[in-house]
């Protein structure tokens, strides 16, 4: 492809790529074509170096220690909270709880809010395209409380089917938990519309932001949602970074989840009193270096601009869908890049996704062949698994070309 086309969106991809040391790897002697960012993103040196520097210069445990290192570590950690809050449009930083990511966050809400407020017969409304991390915690809490899970169906194309929304969102609905962007289909559900429908019946709206937050400008106030989960490792941050946004009234009202040091005010033999949010939900020694690394990732994304990130991915996704379909692949999910993000699942000439991915690996092309932790969706699609290519700031149309070339190689092997 021509160089001009590589500079999709307004991101200078070549200079971005220079920031990612791993892109210098040459698996099987080939240039690394990393198309698995929906799984986990790569990290720029700015993030890697921030983590190292934290350990080399500032490492100490947080809060109540009165020496300089501890004050520095605390200030860096709390600055990370301010950054993450600003990044998702949360005006009050005390509404951002740090933890390992989306899975831990949904478990926190399901336990802290769900076990406290759900009762027998209450309904939790999910969708047929949720990730297991937005299903299993609700199953566990439903089991404990007698609440019932229901699922919003999908259209043929892989969007939410809202035609019968009124019959599914009812007075019994206490929680609507929905993905902000499908990790399989790329689908971007209409969150504002869903949130107002849910609020109309008094339900709480939990958005799985694992894929939404890394790839789109997000404003929790504008979206009008109650909870949003954030996986730092999918947005250039370290593994084990991330958090949960929750409206302050809800964080105040719900129970703590993990108990332990630093989340308490006073401990007596038979009971304890807790700190205010966010500390109420941050027990024990936290993922200090990781959240500080996440702050560097946020700086990086903001220096690119989230609008530009989204635009870049839109262009790549459109290009990829076009080339894949030309090559004879069946692309799942909506085709219009205005209503979808850059996770592109496809089925190629009846070659099993595992075989396909294995051949692609030999060409240096990393894609994921899997049920993508979405078995309910796989049953809807009628496939055991899909092959998924997913994009981020460091990907180029050349990467898409490499993918399509590798598909031809796979066909040669399996035809």
């Amino acid at each position: 492809m021509a160089v001009t086309e590589r500079r999709a969106g307004s991101i200078d991809v070549e200079s971005v790529r220079a920031d990612f040391p791993i892109l210098g790897r040459t698996p099987h002697g080939k240039k690394l074509v990393y198309l698995d960012s929906a799984n986990t993103s790569q990290k720029p040196r700015q993030v890697i170096d921030t983590v190292s520097e934290y350990y080399r210069e500032h490492n100490a445990n947080l809060y109540r220690a009165v020496y300089e290192l501890a004050e520095e570590a605390t200030a860096m950690f709390e600055t990370a909270r301010l950054k993450l809050a600003a990044f998702i449009g949360a005006p009050d930083p005390t509404t951002v709880v740090f933890n390992r990511g989306t899975t831990e966050s949904i478990n926190l809400v399901a336990n802290g809010w769900g076990r406290r407020f759900l009762k027998e017969g209450d309904e939790v409304l999910l969708t047929d395209m949720e990730h297991h991390s937005n299903i299993v915690p609700w199953q566990l809490v439903a089991n404990a409380t007698g609440a019932v899970l229901r699922y919003l169906p999908l259209t043929e194309e892989g969007s939410l089917d809202l035609t019968n929304l009124e019959s599914l969102i009812t007075e019994r609905t206490k929680v609507l938990a929905v993905t902000g962007q499908s990790n399989v289909l790329g689908t971007l559900p209409p969150l504002k519309e869903l949130a107002s429908a849910a609020h109309a019946v008094g339900a709480v709206v939990v958005v799985d932001g694992a894929q939404l937050v890394p790839h789109n400008p997000v404003d929790v106030v504008d979206l009008g949602i109650d909870f949003l989960t954030i996986s730092g490792h999918k947005m250039l941050g370290p593994t084990a970074s991330g958090g949960l946004y929750g409206r302050r009234e809800l964080l105040d009202a719900m129970d703590p989840f993990l108990g332990g040091g630093e989340m308490i005010m006073e401990v007596f033999p038979d009971h304890s009193t807790y700190k205010e949010p966010p500390h109420k939900f941050e027990a024990g020694t936290m993922n200090i270096a990781q959240e500080i690394g996440l702050a560097a990732a946020i700086d990086y994304l903001e220096s690119l601009g989230m609008d530009a990130v989204r635009e870049h991915e839109k262009q790549l996704t459109a290009y990829a869908i076009g080339r894949l379909e030309d090559a004879g692949a069946v692309v799942h999910g909506p085709k219009d890049v205005e209503v979808r993000g850059g996770a592109v699942s496809f089925w190629y000439r009846d070659i099993h996704p595992h075989d396909l991915a294995q051949v692609l690996d030999q060409e240096g092309v990393c894609v994921r062949a899997s049920h993508h932790c979405a078995q309910i969706l796989m049953r809807h699609l009628g496939v055991p698994a899909t092959t998924r290519a997913s994009f981020y700031v460091y990907n180029t149309t050349e990467d898409v070309d490499a993918l399509v070339d590798a598909l031809a190689r796979a066909e040669a092997v399996f035809a």
């Binding site: 099993h352 075989d355 294995q358 049920h371 055991p384 399996f414």
Partner: protein, 149 residues
């Protein structure tokens, strides 16, 4: 690691032209298992006489490794006693774990699966057919489902 470590001609041949892939109506033993993590599914059906596996057939869907392994299995255990078939199953597992050096005379085409040892996550695909066979003969075919672990 070259691609033909894993996709040897023999494997692709069994995948594209599976042996004994058919229904076996009225089979004495039959068992189905799937690997939900991969989406592979295999049914093995066989007739038994005097402790020998007479006809062995399979059906299923999945990746080339799981399906070719099933095809090779039906060829290699057909005619064997249950005891011999189980001991071959153990050796195949051993080979896939990198612990048993396959004897080409005994293994025949199955030697082609040896390359899978380098691809840890594909080992379960290769083993599935053997799991199904084992369960089919061990409970006399009563079981007909269940997820492989």
């Amino acid at each position: 690691m070259a691609l033909d470590d894993i996709y040897k001609e023999t494997i692709l041949d069994h995948y594209k032209n599976p042996r004994n892939k058919r229904e076996l109506p009225g089979a004495v033993v039959t068992c189905t298992k799937n690997n939900p993590l991969c989406g592979d599914e295999i049914t093995v059906a066989a007739n038994l006489e005097d402790g020998k596996l007479l006809e062995v057939a399979f059906e299923g869907a999945g990746c080339s490794i799981s399906q070719s392994s099933a095809s090779m299995m039906t060829e290699s255990v057909g005619g064997k006693t249950v005891g011999d078939a189980m001991s071959l199953a153990a050796d195949v597992r051993g080979m896939l774990a990198g612990e048993v050096e396959p004897d080409e005379d005994v293994f025949g085409d199955l030697v082609a699966l040896k390359g899978v040892v380098k691809y840890p996550i594909r080992i379960k695909c290769a083993v599935l057919a053997w799991d199904v066979l084992q369960e089919a003969v061990s409970d006399g075919g009563a079981a007909s489902g269940g997820a492989a672990h």
